[in-house]
Amino acid sequence: MKKLIINIILVCSLSVLISCEKDFGEINKNPYATTITHVGPLFNNVVSSLRLGWDEQFYIHNEVLYKQSQLAALTSEAWSNLSIGTENIWSNYYIALAHIRDIERRLDEMENPNHPDSLNNVRGMVKVLMAYKTFRVTDLFGDMPFFEAGRGYTGVEYLHPNYDSQKDIYLYLLDELKWAADSISLNPQSSTGGSYYSIASYDKLFNGNLLMWKKFANSLRLRHAMRIAEKEPELAASILAEIFENGLPVIEPGEDVVMMPHEQNWLKESTNWSFREHKHLRMGSNLWNQMADNDSNNGTGFYDPRAFIFFETNNDNKWASYPQIPDANTTPSGGVPYGLHRDLNYAIKGETCIYSPFNYYLIRDENTIPEIILTGSEKYFIKAEAYFRGIGLPVDEVLGASEYFEGVIASMDYWDNLKNNSSIWQYTDPNYENTNPYDVANKIFFLEDPNEKLDLIYAQRWIDAFRQPWEAYSLTRRTGRTPWEGEDPLNYFRLPYPPSESEHNTANWSEQSGSMGGDLTTVKVWWMN
């Protein structure tokens, strides 16, 4: 008996004493996630982050950008909750930036001194992604944390990043893009004889097509060089000149950079949700006036075929725009034109849907309507502007007008293809067939005043950006010359920083906010005049 007792007590003691830390590592190993990955999957994650955020579309595009750029009419400010939208843009961007930093750290570790350029292609691709994403955010917010940002995983000193000026960010990114455009090599062998490190199977944007990456880099240089033409005229001119004079590859019609759900194997549910739940956007009188030459409600007034792609008739099958500047007599807008019931009952948009809503197919198609990043027509509009203003190219109205012409035709083709390629598009207003894209394209040749011509260039670039309202908003802010109704000029210049900055990056935010005279929407971003 005594033996048994001694044994039991011994077992208890031993179970405690046998190595106090044995197997701790194994017990505490995170069972949910892996510690192993490489550049490819991280890169693919960044590409996947190019998809638009749900709340960004809802609270920023539909609530702010369409209204401020006057691309459409906001019939009721039903939500006015910027925080959710800005938070969405912020977290999408900075989380992607952290992944970019992680890729860059891994590339630094992978560098082979004998073949230092073997990583150039991947480095270039990463820089292009970083530039695209960063420009989008800084264009909306202005100054923002950048150089220290996205590095929280590497040390506590980076947990609260400083704000950087938009100018510094722009200059840095334009340099990076140049490096990428120059360094991405289409040769299989690097100059030092090693082969290029490739992540082609993880490149879901261009499927490993390196030329497309070069073109995308140059097109972004065009877009953003022109955007700073007022603030950094020499730099802007030099970039435009370099690309145009040397005929460097840029995105051409038919090569449009998009996120395409059915090709990338995802469902674009966010767009319909953002319209279905918000439901207050309608065709505005401002865009109506750019596309129609009379107020006829049967659609015969439209000369721009894109009107029938962008919008549709009201519940009464009539065309009507909501006044860009409504007054007390304006009949309120209503209806449920974006509800899913329309899959079954297309014609029913709700009795009070008396103004033309966005085309249901355009916002409902989850598979074959892309999210647009950059279209092939953009280069023409930029080149046209460069010719008219003599930025990087000699002033030449004739060449400028012809670039405009090409741009409009490319845009018309683009939207027509978009409609034709949609898997759900079944009905288009019969008036569509009666329009002629050349009516819009030729318009420039009937104008005398170069300023009017330039306005037309801006207007068409603005219309082409119909589903890139952030680009249209930048154009409006930069030029102040996109189509406009109302006497008051635009005075909404930027988005306020999201609340997580004031709550968790308080010191830096306060300093930044103070230097701007407040975190206000009336503060101009750097590149604005």
Binding site: C20, T37, P41, V47, S48, Y94, P145, A149, Y153, V156
Partner: protein
């Protein structure tokens, strides 16, 4: 008279005299609690040293007594009894336990029994009988108001939910602050069923499963000093539960008790019953729309984009639900309802009560207890059936408990305690902000004119779901709430085994060894079956099965050497060395169906083939929670001449959750107890016991598992792998969290200890907090695991007991306990930004935050902007208050003090006791009140509608007395004098969307409550004996949570209806009505 006669007389007288000299008395001493014999009661003749003690059955015999002798019966923890012998030969005595006694034995850490006088820190003991009698929902709620410094809250209002218990304030900024629960030496896992504020379902925590009928006693060890020996897991204090063991007793040893409790919801929110549904659509008098034939149409629309002044109602009045009751007066007019039927527009005073009913709990307990030289054994079986106040969410529990002590030899004893628990629960209601929450329905979705048609019509006659059609007006909670209530069922089946087996070996008279194996095993099966809503049996059908298994092993050993009168001095020495191996293994697997293809087939493989079910990170199919802690400890107890005691302890833990180079940590404690009355022998009638105590301790806490690795989550995009960083940055280095505490106190016994007083002051500093600290997204992450921050707790506890009357036939005693705790956030480390604990509506509305320099429990929200003259600033038209850009502190939930006052009367077989408790001070955000104002449900919103306002002219030129002048000033400081419609007074008081003022919801929440009244009657032994069957019968009636003497909240809102059992206590939103319960009990022993 002859000689013979004389001799006879002398003999008789002599014999009588001799008999008088040699009177013999025997009897049994039993406890009034369980009517069982008390062994070891000392009985002596008053003013002599002659005496005896009771044997194991509680019986005694004394001889050589005189009829004039007075026998004194004394036992630790019981009232002393005196009996004059008289000519009795049988004196049975029933002893009544004292509520609080200064002397006696308490169970301390690791189950070690020690004299109260020795202990230099604070513990408090509660007898099992007292807990069982309360018939509270669990052992912890039974302590509510009874223990100083212990705050108990039942957040969700439904029995079976989670109870929050906090001892001496919060020592952790964001992690668990509840104490460790130890049952018979086995720490049990007691994770809260729901901590999230505001929404979800609460399945309760493991403490609910501890069967109250099996509890011998509960000891609360307060603060890290008392719990220094439980290591990391005991840093928030310890609740030690000891279950009953067997006793040798009279009769056949069977005890049966039955208890029936009726729970009634009684404290409903006060509402107006004059005006029905309608939104603030115009400033004109609310009227019905009429159809072409002049029939009134039900006002389905509460919101419009073309409201007063042509503005959207949301722009003017913010965001409100369809419960808005600003519509026409309810006068029985016939109205064409939203479903097309004609119904009277009449008051519905009882619609808040529609889904509540009286609940009940029936508990049967049958136990057998016996003992012999071999040992003792008790076997008990308990069955509880509970019908809650909300239908379709019943539970039942069956517990089988075994407690036994076996004397293996004269030196070796085995102690076994095993409880097997089978618990079955059907559903638990959705609470607070949940989309299918009834209480949210009442507050936010259903107006005062709501007739509850859903109750009868949620299903169509063919059994399918009523889809209501497009005119259904109440869409702020799910229109299918009633359907779901009866058709979406989740059941929980739990099997739980708590067992401990220990061996105690007296190796030599001075050396003992103990080894114990402990197990807490739980298997939970949650099964969800949502009935399909259509005829075919597909639509919205759903099945989910979740099975989890948790095994916690806690093995320990302790070797103790003790020597009294060490080296022939007055020094008593005891030295122990021990260790514990703790191991938790938790695994859960879950499978669910998708969009059904098989009608009415509840099976997780029922989903369309095309469907790729992807589980995001927070909805994992599998879950683990494994952890090991190994510990070694030692303690040294020194006692000098029964008046000076010193205890030194040291413990080292090794935790699997911390990094390799920081996973070993040591912490010591020291405590002193000094009894001047003994030391200087100055006991007097007034002061007969005086103890001074002081202690100093450290404790340390580890963290949750799996936080150390730098990991990536994988997904796919474009059919290729993606890798995603964990949004929380893993700790770059992590160390255990530390708490340093000290306490001092004194205990006084006066007037023969009829008056006792215990006073303690404590101070706890917890630093190096392990936090998931939010970081700005611009860092690339959302949080980081880091050691940061410092919390301070200081407070005092006072316990006072007074035996006012102590006569054999009548005892009257009273007790008072109160405590005050101040909990300050000293530092949040390098990043001093506020740390949000919880909110109701995300970034909008109020939240509970931890802010540097504040007391723990700051309520932040959007406040008025005040002019320098102190008045809130209004817009120039006098309609709208200016509010702050960001959330700012607007209140604090820390109470000023907590207290409890008890009384007990014992007269013959009757025992009556009462408990009043209070929480005084501290604020809450009272969502029910402000939403009640906003939706026009609150009674005070009648004032202007009934013509009590200022003259106001509406858009149509009609003037009525419906105007108000909002208090405040314009930007320039001049007082507002503009009369506006009353909508501007009531509507913008709350809102979950955008920056809406939060300040009006801040209210002081003080209350004084009649917590408990109990009356017990025990039949007299003489009567019982005559039955020859029973050994004892007693009856009881207990009322709990009976009423509030005072509550500072308006409109009868439930002052204890806070939401969530997490650290953020201070948000009230759509709480349940207050409930009270009355229990009837009978106990019989055979």
């Amino acid at each position: 008279m002859n000689k013979k006669l004389l001799l006879f007389i002398i003999f008789v007288v002599g014999t009588l005299a001799l008999q008088a000299q040699d009177l013999s008395v025997s009897g049994t001493v039993t406890s009034s609690e369980d009517q069982l014999g008390i062994p070891g009661v000392s009985i002596y003749i008053k003013n002599t040293i002659r005496g005896t003690t009771t044997d194991i059955d509680g019986t005694y015999t004394m001889t050589g007594l005189k009829s004039s002798d007075t026998l004194v019966y004394q036992f630790m923890g019981y009232f002393q009894i005196e009996e004059v012998t008289g000519n009795r030969s049988l004196i049975d005595v029933v002893m009544v336990p004292q509520a609080q006694s200064l002397k006696g034995v308490v169970v301390t850490a690791l189950g070690i029994k020690r004299e109260k006088r020795e202990i230099g820190y604070t513990t408090q003991t509660f007898e099992g009988d007292e807990i069982q009698k309360s018939n509270a929902q669990n052992v912890v709620t039974a302590l509510s108001g009874k223990s100083a410094g212990v705050q108990v809250s039942e957040p969700d209002g439904i029995e079976g939910g989670t109870t929050r218990i906090v001892i001496r304030g919060n020592n952790n900024l964001t992690t668990e602050n509840q104490p460790l629960i130890v049952v018979d030496g086995v720490p049990i896992e007691n994770q809260p069923g729901l901590t999230d504020i505001g929404r979800g379902q609460d399945w309760g925590s493991a403490i609910n499963n501890i069967n109250q009928a099996d509890i011998e006693n509960v000891n609360i060890l307060k603060g890290p000093t008392a719990s220094a020996l439980y290591g990391s897991r005991g840093a928030n204090g310890v609740v030690l539960i000891t279950t009953k063991r067997g006793k040798k007793q009279k009769g056949i040893g069977i005890n049966y008790s039955f208890n029936y409790k009726i729970i009634s919801p009684y404290r409903y929110r006060d509402v107006q019953n004059t005006y029905g549904a309608g939104g603030p659509l115009t400033f004109s008098e609310p009227t019905f729309m009429e159809d072409s034939s002049g029939t009134y149409i039900y006002p389905t629309s509460t919101h419009t984009s073309n409201g007063p002044w042509g503005k959207p109602t949301s722009e003017l009045f913010g965001y409100y639900g369809t419960a808005a009751s600003w519509g026409p007066k309810m006068e029985g007019q016939m109205v064409k309802w939203w479903d097309g039927e004609m119904r009277p527009w009449s008051p519905q005073p009882d619609n808040l009560k529609l889904y509540f009913d009286n609940g009940s709990t029936a508990t049967h307990n049958l136990s057998f207890s016996g003992g012999s030289e071999v040992g003792t054994i008790r076997v008990s079986m308990t069955r509880t059936d509970h019908t809650p106040i909300i239908p379709n969410s019943n539970y039942d529990q069956t517990t089988i408990n075994l407690g036994s002590v076996i004397n293996i030899s004269s030196k070796v004893k085995a102690d076994v305690a095993v409880s097997y628990i089978n618990y079955n629960r059907l559903n638990t209601p959705n609470i607070g902000e949940s989309y299918s929450s009834f209480s949210k329905g009442n507050l936010y979705s259903w107006p005062r004119s709501w007739k509850g048609l859903e109750v009868d019509y949620y299903a169509n006659p063919d059994g399918t779901r009523n889809e209501w059609g497009g005119n259904y007006p109440f869409w702020y909670i799910s229109p299918y709430t009633w359907w779901e209530f009866y058709n979406n069922n989740t059941s929980l089946a739990r099997d739980k085994l708590i067992g401990s087996f220990s061996l105690n070996w007296d190796i030599t008279p001075w050396l003992t060894a103990m080894g114990r194996l402990g197990l807490d095993f739980t298997s939970d099966h949650y099964e969800t079956k949502n009935n399909p809503a259509d005829l075919i049996g597909i639509l919205d059908g759903f099945y989910e099965s979740e099975l989890s298994r948790q095994k916690v092993i806690n093995n320990d050993f302790l070797i103790t050497a003790h020597k009294n009168r060490f080296l022939d001095t007055k020094l008593n020495v005891k030295w122990s060395v021990g260790g514990t191996h703790y191991q938790r293994r938790f695994y859960r697997t879950r499978a669910k169906s998708g969009k059904w293809v098989d009608p009415w087939l509840f099976n997780s493989s029922n989903f369309e083939n095309s469907e790729q079910i992807t589980y995001p990170v927070n909805n994992r199919r599998e879950k683990w929670n494994d952890k090991d802690i190994n510990s070694l400890y030692s303690f040294l107890n020194l006692g000098w001449d029964d008046y000076l005691y010193l205890e030194l302890t040291g413990r080292n833990d090794w935790s699997s959750t911390l990094p390799e180079d920081n996973n070993s940590y040591f912490y010591p404690s020291a405590s002193v107890s000094f009894i001047p009355t003994e030391a200087f022998n100055f006991k007097s009638k007034v002061l007969n016991f005086w103890k001074l105590k002081g202690s100093l301790a450290q404790a340390a806490t580890d963290t949750y598992p799996y936080q150390l690795d730098f990991v990536y989550y994988s997904g796919t995009f474009g059919s290729a792998q993606t890798s995603q960083l964990d949004p929380t940055i893993p700790p770059l280095e992590l160390a255990p969290q530390r708490a340093k505490s000290w306490e001092i106190g004194t205990t006084l016994g006066m007037f023969s200890e009829r008056l006792s007083l215990d006073f303690t002051y404590y101070h706890i500093l917890s630093d190096n907090q392990i936090l998931n600290l939010p970081v700005p997204t611009s860092s690339g992450a959302t949080g980081i695991i880091i050691n940061n921050g410092e919390l301070e707790n200081k407070g005092l506890e006072l316990i006072l007991n007074y035996v006012i009357i102590n006569r054999p036939d009548f005892i009257f005693e009273t007790g008072l306990n109160c405590s005050r705790n101040r909990n300050y956030v000293i530092s949040l480390g390098e990043s001093s930004e506020p740390l949000e604990l919880a909110n109701i509506w995300g970034l909008n509305g109020p939240a509970i935050a931890v802010r540097e320099g504040d007391e723990y429990g700051t309520i932040v929200g959007y406040d008025y902007v005040y002019h320098e003259n102190g008045q809130p600033i209004l817009s120039d038209d006098g309609t709208t208050y200016k509010i702050t850009e960001n959330r700012v502190p607007i209140g604090n939930a820390s109470p000023k003090f907590l207290g409890g006052w008890s009384m007990r009367f014992i007269w013959k077989g009757f025992a009556l006791s009462t408990l009043v408790d209070t929480k005084w001070g501290g604020e809450i955000y009272c969502g029910s009140q402000v939403i009640g104002l906003q939706t026009g449900q609150a009674p005070e919103t009648l004032l202007e509608r009934e013509g009590g306002g200022l003259p106001f002219t509406d858009e149509e030129g009609e003037t009525r007395n419906v105007g108000v002048i909002l208090p405040g000033v314009y930007e320039d400081g001049t007082p507002n004098d503009k009369v506006v419609h009353y909508y501007f007074k009531y509507m913008p008081n709350a809102g979950g969307w955008g920056k809406i003022i939060s300040t009006p919801g801040i209210m002081e929440n003080s209350w004084v409550k009649m917590r408990e009244i109990s009356l017990t009657y025990t039949f007299p032994a003489t009567l019982i004996e005559k039955t020859r069957v029973f050994q004892n019968i007693s009856l009881s009636i207990v009322g709990r949570n009976l009423f509030y003497f005072y509550s500072s909240l308006p409109n009868n809102i439930n002052p204890e209806g806070l939401i969530g059992s997490g650290n953020a206590q201070g948000l009230e939103w759509a709480s349940y009505p207050g409930t009270r319960s009355v229990s009837f009990g009978i106990t019989a022993s055979f």
